[in-house]
């Protein structure tokens, strides 16, 4: 009875430790295999097209609406203090520092992450990865590594697009609809947004989120059992784990970057 209880407690800990171990090994194997991609950049470019291009529409539309909402909410709040001239600054800082990288990463996990997990999981279920191994082609090098770097490269690009479109959304609502002074909107933004402190830190965040989300998605697909049920479960795990990772990493990075 007591032994069963102890075993029941120990099993999830052992499973967790095993998963962390496998994930670490896979990450090292993936990074080790990445060097050879320099000789075949086409593999990464194809995946950037697949991962990045297909996420573009949802990212742009979401960015537009987030920017429009920021414009509205920001105006209501700033107007109370007579500071609506700072609306451009508020929209730009919110987007570049936080909302751009975070919301893009969450959308990326839902759009591209799930697609990566399902693709790798189904390749495994269809014995395509085994076939590659038997053709003396390492699937980590040929399948996982190009997708990983494509995700890492695509994420900051998508986050930049999200922020840029968001600023336009804020401009449409704040300047064109509500009537905030256009000169003040842009000049406050230009004066208050720092390229290193705000834009570069936001870009660093999105690179880190890109690493986390893409790796989680690939790992879940690669470790999935070759059954439809487990591929479905792996896809769900991708969204849950990568979303929680993004929130946790965002908190840590914000604490490190903006601590003055």
């Amino acid at each position: 009875m007591m032994l069963d209880l102890l075993a029941g407690l120990g099993r999830p800990i052992r499973t967790f430790a095993e998963n962390v171990g496998f994930a670490t090994l896979t990450l090292f194997e993936l990074l080790g295999a990445s060097a050879k991609l320099w000789r075949r950049p086409r593999l990464v470019i194809e995946q950037i097209h697949f991962i990045g291009n297909y996420s573009l529409l949802i990212i742009a539309v979401s960015g537009l609406f987030v920017g429009m909402v920021l414009g509205l909410q920001g105006y209501y709040t700033l107007n109370k203090y007579g500071s609506e001239q700072a609306l451009g600054l508020l929209v730009a800082l919110s987007l570049t520092r936080e909302l751009g990288p975070v919301v893009t990463a969450l959308l990326f996990a839902g759009r591209a992450g799930t697609s990566l997990t399902a693709e790798i999981g189904l390749m495994k279920a269809g014995e395509q990865l085994s076939a590659m191994e038997m053709m003396a082609v390492n699937p980590v090098e040929r399948v996982l590594a190009p997708r990983f770097w494509a995700g890492v490269i695509a994420m900051p690009a998508l986050a930049s697009i999200f922020s840029a479109v968001g600023v336009l959304g804020g401009y449409l609502i704040g300047v064109q609809l509500i009537g905030v002074d256009e000169g003040a909107f842009w000049s406050q933004m230009q004066a208050g947004v720092d390229i290193w402190q705000d834009i570069a830190n936001g870009a660093i965040k999105s690179v880190v989120f890109g690493i986390a989300v893409t790796f989680v998605a690939l790992y879940q697909g690669y470790r999935a059992q070759a059954t439809p049920e487990d591929v479905a479960r792996a896809t769900t795990r991708t969204v849950v784990i990568s979303s929680l990772s993004v929130w946790w990493l965002d908190f840590m990075l914000t604490a490190l970057m903006f601590n003055k």
């Binding site: 269809g126 014995e127 395509q128 085994s130 076939a131 191994e133 038997m134 053709m135 003396a136 082609v137 390492n138 040929r142």
Partner: protein, 267 residues
């Protein structure tokens, strides 16, 4: 060395569940050797052991004189370049065309110019009768055609050893005959050695030079197709003549029907 593949005193378990016990098998160069047996008898596991995808607990598997289970990744991958494998369902890359599937190993392992790859791929597809299907996607071809595309891909690098995992499963009689003939013809034309894992009796006995019969992870009979057809071994007889009951029971082992229905104590 007359044998390309040799298996000696091989034992393999998944966890605590024994799959193969004390196997000794020879696969001579240039021959087609069939490994036959029912589902779950461990046939596919033998192919995975030969390909180095799994390692035995005891015993040895050697290919071309190299002990597969002792090789490091780099040496194993070098050895696999001498092998081709046809998976049960083809395992074609669904995002690539038929042409690109066959070109895949050539692109991965050679620096041949594109014109030569083009010609080689068309020749391989011509050999399996699918040159005109080169631009189709795997989803656009039938199961039998997909198997032939996978065969063309498996022979793309002219391997010394070709392994077939249930090549006839799920095929119509015409496709079965076509695939069986292709296996024999390609083996002889390329001078390769073929290992055919199957439970299709007629096709396997038609093209094999030698046959191993496997049951519950052990070899229960072996010989030429003629010897197998004449065999008086109860398992072989049941299998070859497709008898419903025999050494392989119809019912999954466990409690009796009376026990399950609670009738065992009734007078």
């Amino acid at each position: 060395m007359p044998n390309l593949v040799e298996i000696r005193d091989l034992h393999f378990k998944y966890g605590e569940f024994p799959i193969l016990s004390g196997l000794r098998m020879d696969f001579p160069r240039g021959k087609v050797v069939a490994v036959m047996g029912g589902s779950g008898s461990g046939k596919t596991t033998i192919l995975r052991l030969i390909g180095g995808q799994i390692r035995p607990q005891t015993g040895s598997v050697s290919v071309d004189g190299q002990a597969v289970h002792t090789l490091e990744t780099k040496a194993l991958y070098a050895l696999r370049r001498k092998m081709g494998m046809l998976f049960q369902h083809g395992a074609l890359f669904t995002d690539l065309t038929v042409f690109e599937n066959v070109a895949f190993p050539l692109r991965e392992h050679t620096d041949l110019p594109e014109e030569l790859i083009h010609d080689l791929v068309l020749m391989k597809l011509h050999a399996v009768g699918l040159r005109n299907a080169a631009q189709l996607k795997p989803a656009e071809v039938s199961g039998g055609m997909a198997r032939r595309v996978a065969l063309a891909r498996a022979i793309a690098l002219d391997p010394e050893l070709i392994m077939y995992d249930e090549p006839f499963a799920g095929l119509d009689p015409i496709s079965k005959g076509v695939t069986a003939n292709l296996i024999r013809i390609l083996n002889d034309a390329l001078g390769s050695t073929s290992i055919l894992v199957s439970h299709d009796v007629a096709e396997s006995l038609m093209i094999a030079d030698y046959v191993y019969f496997l049951s519950q992870g052990k070899i229960v009979a072996e010989g030429t197709p003629a010897e197998i057809q004449e065999s008086s071994d109860p398992f072989v007889k049941q299998f070859v003549h497709a008898e419903a009951d025999g050494p392989v029971p119809f019912h999954y082992p466990g409690k009796s029907l009376a026990e399950d229905l609670g009738l065992e104590n009734r007078p």
